[in-house]
Every structure is written in structure tokens, then in C-alpha cells.
């Protein structure tokens, strides 16, 4: 088996060591990211600001803009990557991602409706409706799949169909209301611009969900052996799939609601993680989370630091990094087959 070979190949490092290294990388990235932006702050100035020797305007920028954005990038990156890894596990399809099951598209459609039809509604409505949109699509998905016994293929196909319907809706609104295309596109690309502490609070559920999912990982390893084996090992595979799917969907919903539908993180982070630690979920999941966090952190820092004072939405950067990697993945998948 291919995965087994890979597993053997990649088990050179102790998983805990890998995780620790990833964590250190994230910490270093965070510190670099704190300095980047329209106002460049040197690392020594950052340290001085944090030990109390503060420059008022720098401290304001660090505390109000950069720090919350870094935390959001870490949580959202980790959330999307974990959800992606789980979906790839449940669907037993390496190309599965939050986009594939239609949930992000559902959130997107709901957000577009709010942006276009109710532009003067309170600000909180946007993330709220995005989450509701994601939840509605997820519920429909579950209902459809329930009859068929949550088979991986049914899940993927129903998800893609639902996503296509939502995409059609999004395009309808964008053509019908061309004057709002800018703000709509911005949301659909996903950006961390102007996200602050209040958004960190929205993301708090992720801090419970991500560790919860990581805790459930042994089950995922059993599920990936196939339904028959899983059942004979005493697992209720249908039920398990439901639980995991629900948690992943909530995670995606919360993340997408806060920053918009940032793509590719949920797809490529698990793959990068798999190359480093192999495909056993109990290591793969935390590794994916950390890789995802690092990726979004890099994307947001680049977006902020490349052409100040203009900002490139993080979603565009992840697409620029992600799309070529995705093509490469498709190629190597084909070779294997």
C-alpha cells in the first residue's frame, strides 16, 4: 500500500519533535509578522514595546491591529486545516477540502445576500448570516446523506452539487448588483483586514473544537481502514462520521464567518503535513493545524507587507501559493493511479 510506504518513509522524525519545531516556526513567524505592515517596526522595537518601554503610536498599532490579526490567522489557519484533514479522512479523498462539501459556498451565498441586499444592516449580521448559511448547507448535506448511510462518495457528490447551486446564486447577485461587486469579491476572497479583538472572541469556539477533534483522532485512524474493518473493531462508523463531519462543519462555519471564504488552506495544509509526519491522524491532525496556522500567517503578513499602504487580501496570497501546489498534487495523484 502506498500510504504504508509513505508512512515508513516519513517516520524518521519523532512526531512530538516535528510538532515542537512547527510551533517554534509559528512563534518566529508571529514576531516577524508583528513588524510587517505599512509602518515597519523592527524586532528590537517590538521587544522594547512588549517589555514596557513603549512608543505610544507603535504600541497602538501592535495591540490594536497586528496582534489580533496574528491570533486570528493562527486560529483560522489551524481551524480550516484541521477541518480539511478530517474531511480528507472521512471522504477518503485526498482532494477533499472545505470548498468541496459546499459549506464555504453556502456561507458565501449568505454573505453576498447580506452585502448586496441589506448593505446598511448591523455589522454583526455578516458573520452571523455567513455562519447560518454554512449551517443550512451542512444540514441539507446531512439530510441527503443520511438515507444513503453517509457513504464517502455520496457526501462528496452532494456537497459539490450544493456548492454549485450556491455558486450560481452568488453569481446571480453579482451580475444583478454590479456596484457591490468589489465588496462582495473582497469577502469571497477572504481577508484579515480590519479584523480586531471582537473577531478573536467570535473564534473562541475553535479553541475548544480543534483540540476536541484532535482528541477524536484515534477514531479517524480506524475509520480510514474502511467501514467493514471499523465495524468489526466495534466502531459505529456511520455515527462517527456524522459527529466528525458536524464538528468539522462548525469549525469551517466559524472560520469562514470571521474572515470570508479563504481558499486552499484546508486543502494543502493537510497535504504538507502528511509529507512531514505521515498519514496517521493522531499526528497528522495537530501537524495540519500548525501548518495551516503558519500558512495563513505567512499569507496575511505578505499581503500586509508587500505593497503598503495597499493590502492584498490574504485569500489571494493563499490562492497564489495554493493553486500551483494543487496542480502539482493532481499530477502526483494521477501518477500514483
Amino acid at each position: 500500500m502506498n500510504t504504508k510506504q509513505k508512512l515508513l518513509l516519513n517516520r524518521n522524525f519523532h512526531p512530538n519533535l516535528v510538532l515542537l519545531v512547527l510551533l517554534i516556526i509559528i512563534l518566529i513567524l508571529s514576531i516577524v509578522s508583528l513588524g510587517l505592515g505599512a509602518i515597519y517596526i523592527t524586532p528590537s522595537e517590538i521587544i522594547r514595546n512588549f517589555i514596557g518601554e513603549e512608543t505610544q503610536s507603535q504600541r497602538f498599532i501592535l495591540n490594536n491591529y497586528r496582534l489580533p490579526r496574528i491570533i486570528i490567522a493562527i486560529i483560522v489557519g489551524a481551524g480550516l486545516a484541521t477541518a480539511g484533514a478530517i474531511l480528507q479522512g472521512i471522504l477518503r479523498n485526498p482532494l477533499a477540502s472545505p470548498d468541496v462539501i459546499g459549506v464555504t459556498k453556502g456561507a458565501g451565498l449568505a454573505a453576498v445576500i447580506i452585502i448586496v441586499l441589506f448593505p446598511s444592516s448591523p455589522i454583526i449580521f455578516l458573520p452571523l448570516s455567513a455562519f447560518i448559511g454554512a449551517a443550512i448547507i451542512a444540514t441539507i448535506l446531512m439530510l441527503f446523506v443520511y438515507k444513503k448511510g453517509a457513504q464517502p462518495n455520496t457526501l462528496a457528490l452532494v456537497g459539490i452539487a450544493l456548492g454549485a447551486i450556491c455558486q450560481a446564486g452568488i453569481e446571480y447577485f453579482m451580475i444583478k448588483f454590479p456596484d457591490n461587486v468589489n465588496s462582495t469579491l473582497l469577502w469571497l476572497t477572504g481577508s484579515l483586514w480590519a479584523r480586531g479583538w471582537e473577531h478573536v472572541y467570535i473564534l473562541l469556539p475553535c479553541l475548544i473544537l480543534i483540540p476536541l477533534l484532535i482528541g477524536l483522532t484515534s477514531k479517524l485512524d480506524i475509520l480510514s481502514l474502511g467501514d467493514d474493518i471499523a465495524t468489526s473493531l466495534g466502531e459505529r462508523s456511520k455515527f462517527l462520521r456524522y459527529i466528525l463531519l458536524s464538528v468539522a462543519v462548525i469549525l469551517i462555519g466559524v472560520c469562514v464567518a470571521t474572515v470570508g471564504s479563504i481558499g486552499f488552506i484546508g486543502l494543502i495544509a493537510p497535504h504538507i503535513a502528511r509529507r512531514i509526519v505521515g498519514s496517521k491522524f493522531k499526528v497528522l491532525l495537530p501537524a495540519s493545524a500548525l501548518v495551516g496556522a503558519a500558512l495563513l500567517l505567512v499569507a496575511d503578513s505578505l499581503g500586509r507587507g508587500l505593497f503598503p499602504p495597499l493590502e492584498i487580501p490574504a485569500g489571494i496570497i493563499t490562492a497564489v501559493i495554493g493553486a500551483p501546489y494543487f496542480l502539482y498534487l493532481l499530477r502526483s495523484e494521477r501518477k500514483k493511479a
Binding site: G37, A38, I61, P211
Partner: protein
């Protein structure tokens, strides 16, 4: 069983690590929140002491002390408003187009770009330490709180605003800057200029005019409720489409059906849909084409700037173009 214990250890470790990071970061946040609150209290008590003016705007009320001098504007019409009052902003959300601002103000001015109107850089705005921020209700309501933290902020209608709403925004800005009287004078002068041009325009009042934005794939007609449409009506012209929607996407067939006498086209940069239409017999059948009554107008001036000076420039532009013949 053994694998279970191992698993417990591992996820426990990651859990602990994740939570430590979060706790540390949350700690920083808590400290920051406190200082913010102190700051807010200070400013609010300070305001009461010096009894600032209370300015009502789209997002509530803002207390303005003294006369703001360091102003950041996040929409183009606000630059026009300040210019009308003889002031220039310290920072402008200029979409990184210095030329456009030079065209708007009429000369090169010294200012700092704060990024795009869609996503102005809060970092740059805060580094400028302004004493007033003027933001647009459509684009910037979501960041009103963030802007308030930097400086007193007023949120007004600019993007997609009507002619009248734009004048109201100008009045509010003048009031904020303690120049309400100057503004009144300037407004009556503005009215005079518009009326003067109205009387000079010697176009038959039965003729219809249609302003439109042409892009590579769309022809967007502006109706009586659009900014330029409303202004043209003020000049005594008859805009071809009466509608509550400011903009209407049109096909060539629809355009032929309305068949306006005069077309004022604000062409976008690059390829244009009308280039494709030119070979179409329907296009050649248009009254405006037959009588050579198609004028191209400046896209920035006619559809982007908005404001007292810009409105007057549009009016003069209309006068010279339509009186040519």
C-alpha cells in the same frame, strides 16, 4: 490500549501548547483593553470640560473639540468638500492614484496615501495621528469603531450618494470644521452658478439626455436618481430614464428603445462594449448617432468625485459640450 495512552499524551501536549499561546496572547489583550478604557474615559471627560460641538452623522454623534486641522478622508467627495473650504487633508484613501487626486484638487497637493477606499490602512491612519477622520457610510461602517479609537470620526454619505445627499454631507463637514457660515455662502454661490449654466444651456427642453458608464462588458445607464442624472436635471435637461434605481444595465436593444437624443458616455479604461456595438445597424439607427450627439466625458469627474467643485466642473463641461453646436 497502549495506543490510547500514547494518544492521550500527545493530544494533551498539543492542547497545553495551544492553550499556553492563547493565554499569553489573551493576557496582552486584557492589559490593552484596560488602557483603552482609561483613554476613552479621559477623552470623554476632556470633551465635557471644553464643551465641544456635537456633530450628528450616519453612525451617531461625535464630539468635536477645537477646530480639526489634521484630517484624514476616506472618500473622494470629502477631498472636494475640504478643498471647497480651502483645506487639504493630511491623509487620503486615494487607491494609490496620486494623479486622480491632483485632478480632483486641481493641483499637486502634499498628503499621505492611506491605501484604498475599500480597505484603508488603519495602521497608516493611526500613524498620522489625525484629529478628524471623515468616512463613508457604505464602505466604512464596519470599521467605524476602529476609526473612533484613532480619532473623532464622522461617517457621511458619499459613495452612491445623490446630489442632495452630497450637499448635506458638505454641510456636515463644514459644521464639523466650524465653518458653517462659509459653507452657507458657498452653497448659495453654488446654486447661482448652477442656475446660470441652466439658463445658458440652449438645448431644446424636449430633447432627452442619457449619461452612462461604458465598460468592456457593460453599458450602465444613469437615471434621474443617480448623482450626475440629478445634476443634469438641475441644469434643466431631461434625463432619458426616470427611475428610482440610480443605475440600469442596458443592452443595445433597450438603448434603441429609449433612443435618447444625447449620449454622455463616461468610458472606462481599456476595451469598451460600445466599440463592439458600432458596427451594429441598430447602433447606427440611434438618434444620438445620426445627429452626432455622442460626447465622451471624464469618468473620474462625472462618476467618481462628487462634490461642490466637481459638480460645477460637470455643469461647465456639459455647457461647453452641448453648446458647441
Amino acid at each position: 490500549m497502549q495506543s490510547f495512552i500514547k494518544l492521550g499524551k500527545l493530544s494533551g501536549l498539543t492542547l497545553i501548547l495551544l492553550f499556553t499561546i492563547m493565554m499569553v496572547l489573551a493576557g496582552c489583550n486584557a492589559a490593552q483593553n484596560n488602557t483603552d478604557k482609561e483613554k476613552e474615559e479621559q477623552t470623554s471627560t476632556g470633551a465635557k470640560e471644553s464643551k465641544g460641538r456635537v456633530i450628528k452623522h450616519e453612525m451617531g454623534e461625535t464630539v468635536i473639540k477645537n477646530t480639526p486641522k489634521k484630517i484624514v478622508t476616506l472618500e473622494l467627495s470629502f477631498v472636494d468638500s475640504l478643498n471647497t473650504l480651502g483645506m487639504t487633508p493630511l491623509g487620503i484613501a486615494d487607491d494609490n492614484k496620486k494623479d486622480m487626486i491632483a485632478k480632483l484638487v486641481g493641483s499637486d497637493i502634499d498628503y499621505t496615501s492611506v491605501g484604498t477606499r475599500e480597505q484603508p490602512s488603519l495602521e497608516v491612519i493611526s500613524s498620522l495621528q489625525p484629529d478628524l477622520i471623515i468616512a463613508d457610510v457604505e464602505r466604512h461602517s464596519a470599521i467605524y469603531k476602529d476609526l473612533q479609537q484613532i480619532a473623532p470620526t464622522i461617517v457621511l454619505k458619499s459613495r452612491e450618494s445623490t446630489y442632495q445627499e452630497n450637499l448635506d454631507s458638505f454641510k456636515t463637514i463644514a459644521e464639523t470644521l466650524g465653518q458653517a457660515e462659509t459653507a452657507e455662502k458657498r452653497l448659495s454661490e453654488h446654486e447661482k452658478i448652477i442656475n446660470e449654466i441652466n439658463s445658458k444651456l440652449n438645448l431644446d427642453t424636449n430633447l432627452t439626455v442619457l449619461p452612462a458608464v461604458v465598460r468592456d462588458t457593460s453599458f450602465q445607464a444613469h437615471t434621474t436618481s443617480s448623482y450626475d442624472g440629478e445634476l443634469l436635471e438641475k441644469l434643466g435637461l431631461k434625463v432619458a430614464i426616470q427611475d428610482e434605481q440610480p443605475y440600469v444595465e442596458m443592452s443595445l436593444e433597450q438603448l434603441v428603445e429609449i433612443n435618447p437624443d444625447v449620449l454622455l458616455l463616461a468610458n472606462n479604461e481599456g476595451k469598451l462594449l460600445t466599440d463592439e456595438w458600432k458596427d451594429n445597424p441598430l447602433w447606427k439607427d440611434l438618434k444620438a448617432v445620426k445627429n452626432d450627439q455622442i460626447y465622451s466625458v471624464d469618468r473620474d469627474l462625472w462618476t467618481r468625485f462628487r462634490g461642490i467643485i466637481s459638480a460645477e466642473a460637470i455643469a461647465k463641461d456639459t455647457l461647453t459640450k452641448l453648446n458647441e453646436k
